[in-house]
């Protein structure tokens, strides 16, 4: 028969361990929150509620989730809606050239700069529905409503066929077609009038495809929070080949 004293000592030991654990738990839970880092937003020390901040200020406030999250997410995140837009001439030319490289002419459906599943149906929408940027690669959102058969118009720009390349055709030559170039900027009636849309809008109904946060830098709108683009920017009946304008 064991002695009562040793059994009691064991009970006390358990109680101490559980007690310490509980204290530790509650201390952890009750630790006061870290001070919010609001960047250069001034925080009032008074009892008054802090002033409401604008969306423009929000981007200066780092996310407040677990400490590792922001850096991990940042590697995937694209620019924010209100990130500054740089429109210096050089980057615009580069961005337009990069855009044109995937098109036979302005208005042609862009080719696909990545591999696809040959018998694909709806995978395209995973990235191209609302668009995203991953590690510097841009998946533009579709500029038109979702049609069902993406590969009807969009083909890969590098052949998928496996195996050794067949000998090139003799005297095949290049194609001398010179396509319509993209417009650079829409005309303004006076210096600060809203520019007209300098390209056709057929199949480009979703302006934010190119001009939104997942567009190429130099094409992005300075005011993407205004969602009714054609309120101020006029489209062209001629470019849209509307009835009565074309033969």
């Amino acid at each position: 028969m064991s002695t009562p004293s040793s059994e009691q000592a064991l009970h006390v030991g358990f109680a101490v361990i559980i007690g310490i654990a509980l204290i530790g738990f509650f201390v952890g839970v009750q630790r006061p929150p870290e001070a919010m880092d609001l960047g250069d937003v001034e925080v009032s020390e008074s009892d008054e509620a802090p002033p409401a901040i604008t969306y423009a200020e929000k981007r200066h406030i780092p996310p407040r989730l677990g400490s590792d999250w922001p850096t991990e997410l940042a590697r995937f995140a694209g620019p924010g809606v209100l990130d500054p837009v740089s429109l210096d001439g050089t980057s615009k030319a580069e961005d337009l050239a990069a855009r044109a490289a995937l098109r036979a002419y302005d208005g042609a459906p862009p080719t696909i700069p990545h591999d696809i599943r040959q018998q694909s149906v709806s995978e395209c929408l995973a990235c191209h529905d609302s668009g995203m940027q991953i590690r510097g690669r841009l998946a533009p959102p579709m500029s038109h409503e979702a049609y069902t058969s993406c590969t009807q118009c969009h083909v890969v720009n590098e052949g998928p066929s496996p195996g050794a390349a067949l000998p090139p055709d003799a005297a095949f030559g290049e194609n001398a077609f010179v396509g319509l170039v993209s417009p650079t900027a829409g005309a303004r009636a006076w210096s600060i009038a809203p520019p007209v849309i300098p390209h056709k809008t057929t199949m480009r109904e979703r302006c934010m495809s190119c001009h939104g946060p997942n567009g190429r830098d130099a094409l992005r709108s300075t005011h993407p929070d205004r969602s009714n683009c054609v309120q101020c920017h006029a489209s062209s009946a001629e470019l849209d080949l509307r009835p009565g304008v074309t033969p």
């Binding site: 002419y105 998928p160 496996p162 050794a164």
Partner: protein
């Protein structure tokens, strides 16, 4: 400074700077190249697409004499502003650097540039040497006026009927199917059916790749919340399968059993449309000797003939589960659903092509799925004017314009009247169909090879003729034989031609096409052809004029006037055979106005040329209304839309072969194919097209975007077969049939996925000529060869 104010200033400064930068950049760009301004300066005009038979309208943007852009035509009912990748890039087809620019004649084995005069003289020499042995091999890509001019030259002038088109290889079985069932060619329905159907059945075709605009027109309805049941009956999984709810995989050639199985269940379960059948149908079976009209049979005989085709028996023949045959019959048995069937080469390139075409029409007639919008059996065509130029102009060896045939006295008499020819000018004996024409060209004269010269226009038989080493190659080696080829690029045919003529293409000339839904379309010349390339139609008229000059009696009408005499608005004759004067008047319009008089014969009425200038195509019959306007017809044989149906008849087949206004529902037995896999050649071989390339690829392979997307041919093989044979993806293998052998890389899980025991090879690649392997066996009625099945072996190449 408050934060919001600071932010505001920052943003406005940025906006001002960016606006300034954008403006500067635009000005700089304009200063660099003021001619490249966007939009203004580009002239847009309509044209049907150059490629397939869908007949989309494009808007062609032209600047400084060159095409710079293409857009889907928002006013076109066919495509509603949308195109496919080929259509968006069709403008680039004109600008391959190796366009043919000057006529060339092979002298001592070398091609040397010659003048057009010498070229036309050379052709005339070949005709005058032996007019009976001179043939024209044309195309479903001929414009309507081009085909009509060639037709008039060969049937009304040289009068040997030796003219046949590549469409023989493409939709001849669809024609014989329509004739056997309705007594008159071409679909009763139209593309509107695609907007209305509840069920779409694809019989051995892959519209997601071959008719993409029509395919998305159906399945995009799902995005709008509509339900469309898509059933793919096929021998290989394709992009179409990916969108289908049901894929019914069948053993090649057993589609006849499937159709019979559906018909059997409709009758057995009593779900066929008794009212429709009793009012509008007769029953028909093959006759002895075989004739397209067949022999009459009673409904009881029809039922008895179908009795063996139980779902279980059909499963045994075709591999399609009995429950799926019941599912199909169940759908057809429902009157509340609207069912449209589509098919193309799978049913046409078939040694029982006429039979399977007739059977599918039969399933629709038997079940009453006919004549309402959305209820239609519709055959699609692969070429832009297979319907317009081949079937309507009648550029087949036995046909006359407007649906006539040379074997009927009254049709010849009508053509002689409209062409103002002396009675008896037109030969009553049909010329050779395509396979026979080429076989005779490839046979020495002493052995009965009575065709000595073939003039090829707008097609590429050097690549597309089946069993090439039998039908083409011997003629190339025979010094007595002569091959003339009019084309726009060097092709597999120009390589073997003795005389090459550079042609104008698409919007480098005026033109008219007729698409798959009876729609006749018109366009104007927009840019100039390169070098000394000239219109095919001019080439034909120039030959006729040279034959006239040399006194060929057929070049004169009965009043002694040249066959191709044209006058301008003031009534002055214009010598259009002189190239510089060819566009002094609209030759297309002159020819079309003459041709359209033929269109009344079979109620395929065409409107005056100027109506087509205004429209994005019109579907015949186009009938003038009391107020002078011209009204097209969407649904033929249906009283609510077709003006030629008797009032009160609801449905009337007014060209019925039984002369009682009824269509024929056929029974055809399910026979085995001419060649099946065996121990020596254990695989099925199927050939076909891919999305990016159009037919033999001579145009699309010169378009960088399309070539990059699909750079070369391959053989699709099932993963299990590859594993069994130890073949890796991408490995080059040798394919061998009884006719020939080629090497090409294997693509596993590629564009399509054939079942075990089947291979697929596309035919677009000139470097890998799959038609060295294909079979030239053909349907007994349509004479259309079967490119879809023969037996092939696969061997690894051990290096």
């Amino acid at each position: 400074m408050t934060p919001d104010r600071r932010e505001f200033l920052k943003l406005s400064a940025l906006a001002a700077a960016s606006a300034a930068a954008a403006g500067t950049f635009a000005q700089e760009a304009a200063a660099e190249d003021p001619t490249r301004a966007y939009g203004p300066g580009v002239r847009w005009d309509k044209a049907p697409c150059r490629f397939c038979g869908t007949g989309c309208h494009v808007q062609v943007g032209v600047e400084k004499g060159k095409i710079v852009a293409i857009a889907g035509d928002p006013q076109a009912e066919v495509n509603k502003g949308l195109l496919c990748v080929k259509g968006y890039h069709v403008g680039l087809a004109l600008y391959g650097e190796d366009r043919l620019r000057t006529p060339m004649l092979r002298k001592n084995g070398q091609l040397v540039p010659i003048s057009w005069e010498e070229a036309i003289q050379t052709i005339a020499d070949r005709v005058m040497m032996d007019p009976a042995g001179f043939a024209m091999y044309g195309s479903g890509q001929w414009t309507i006026p081009e085909g009509y001019a060639a037709q008039k030259l060969m049937k009304g002038g040289i009068a040997n009927n030796q003219i046949d088109p590549n469409a023989r290889l493409c939709m001849a079985s669809a024609v014989t199917g329509f004739l056997a069932v309705y007594g008159v060619d071409e679909p009763a329905g139209c593309y509107t059916d695609l907007d209305e159907c509840d069920v779409l059945i694809c019989w051995g075709n892959n519209p997601a790749e071959m008719h993409p605009v029509l395919f998305s027109r159906v399945i995009d309805r799902r995005n709008r919340g509509e339900e469309v049941l898509l059933i793919d009956i096929g021998t290989r999984r394709t992009r179409t399968t990916a969108h289908a709810q049901h894929f019914l995989e069948f053993e090649p050639h057993t589609d006849l059993a499937i159709a019979n199985g559906i018909a059997h269940l409709l009758i057995k379960s009593g779900t066929y449309d008794k009212d429709f059948v009793s009012k509008h149908c007769n029953f028909r079976k093959p006759s002895e000797p075989a004739a397209l009209e067949g022999a009459a049979m009673s409904f009881e005989e029809f039922s008895a003939a179908l009795a063996p085709f139980t779902p279980e028996y059909v499963e045994k023949l075709s591999g399609v589960p009995a429950k799926d045959i019941r599912m199909l019959a169940g759908l057809f048995g429902r009157r509340d659903l609207k069912i449209t069937s589509l098919w193309c080469m799978g049913m046409n390139q078939h040694t029982r092509g006429t039979a399977i075409n007739s059977l599918v029409h039969g399933v629709h007639l038997l079940s009453g799925h006919f004549g309402r919008p959305g209820d239609a059996p519709t055959s699609l065509t692969g070429q832009p004017s297979a319907c317009g130029t081949v079937r309507e102009v009648g550029t087949l060896s036995h046909a006359l314009p407007g649906g006539g045939v040379v074997t009927k006295d009254e049709h010849r008499a009508n053509a002689e009247k409209l062409w103002n020819l002396p009675a008896g000018r037109i030969n009553a004996k049909p010329g050779y169909h395509t396979v026979e024409m080429w076989k005779r060209w490839s046979t020495p004269k002493k052995d009965g090879g009575d065709i000595h010269t073939i003039w090829v226009q707008v097609t590429n038989p050097g690549q597309t003729m089946p069993n090439r080493s039998l039908l083409v190659d011997p003629g190339v080696k025979d010094p007595d034989k002569f091959l003339i080829c009019s084309d726009v690029y060097p092709t597999a045919t120009t390589q073997i031609a003795d005389l090459i003529l550079p042609s104008a293409m698409w919007v480098e000339k005026n033109g008219m096409f007729g698409n798959s839904e009876r729609r006749t379309q018109q366009w104007f010349k927009m840019v100039s052809p390169p070098g000394d390339a000239r219109d095919d139609c001019w080439q034909t008229i120039a030959l006729a004029k040279e034959l006239h000059r040399r006194g060929h009696p057929g070049m004169l009408d009965k009043d002694g006037r040249f066959l191709f005499t044209f006058a301008d608005a003031q009534g002055r004759e214009v010598p259009v055979w002189e190239w510089r004067r060819y566009y002094e008047l609209n030759v297309d319009k002159a020819l079309f106005e003459e041709y359209r008089l033929f269109s009344r014969t079979k109620h395929k009425d065409l409107a005056p040329y100027d109506e087509y200038v205004k429209a994005r195509g019109l579907r015949w019959p186009v009938v003038q209304q009391p107020d002078g306007t011209w009204r097209e017809t969407r649904f033929r044989f249906a009283e609510f839309d077709d003006p030629y149906v008797k009032k009160g008849a609801e449905i009337e087949f007014y060209h019925s072969t039984t002369k009682d206004g009824r269509a024929q529902v056929w029974f055809h037995p399910a026979d085995p194919p001419p060649e099946s896999p065996d121990g020596q050649y254990p695989f099925w071989l199927c050939t076909g097209r891919v999305l990016e390339h159009w037919h033999s690829g001579t145009m699309t392979r010169r378009i960088p975007q399309l070539r990059a997307a699909m750079p070369q041919a391959y053989v699709e093989m099932n993963r299990h077969d590859a594993q069994k044979l130890g073949i890796r993806n991408g490995e080059t293998v040798r394919l061998t049939t009884r006719r020939g052998s080629i090497e090409l890389p294997v693509w596993i899980d590629g564009r399509g996925d054939p079942p075990p025991g089947s291979l697929f090879v596309p035919f677009f690649d000139e470097r890998v000529q799959i038609n060295l392997l294909t079979l030239h066996e053909y349907d007994p009625f349509s004479k259309q060869p079967d490119y879809k099945k023969c037996a092939v072996s696969v061997t690894r190449i051990v290096s």
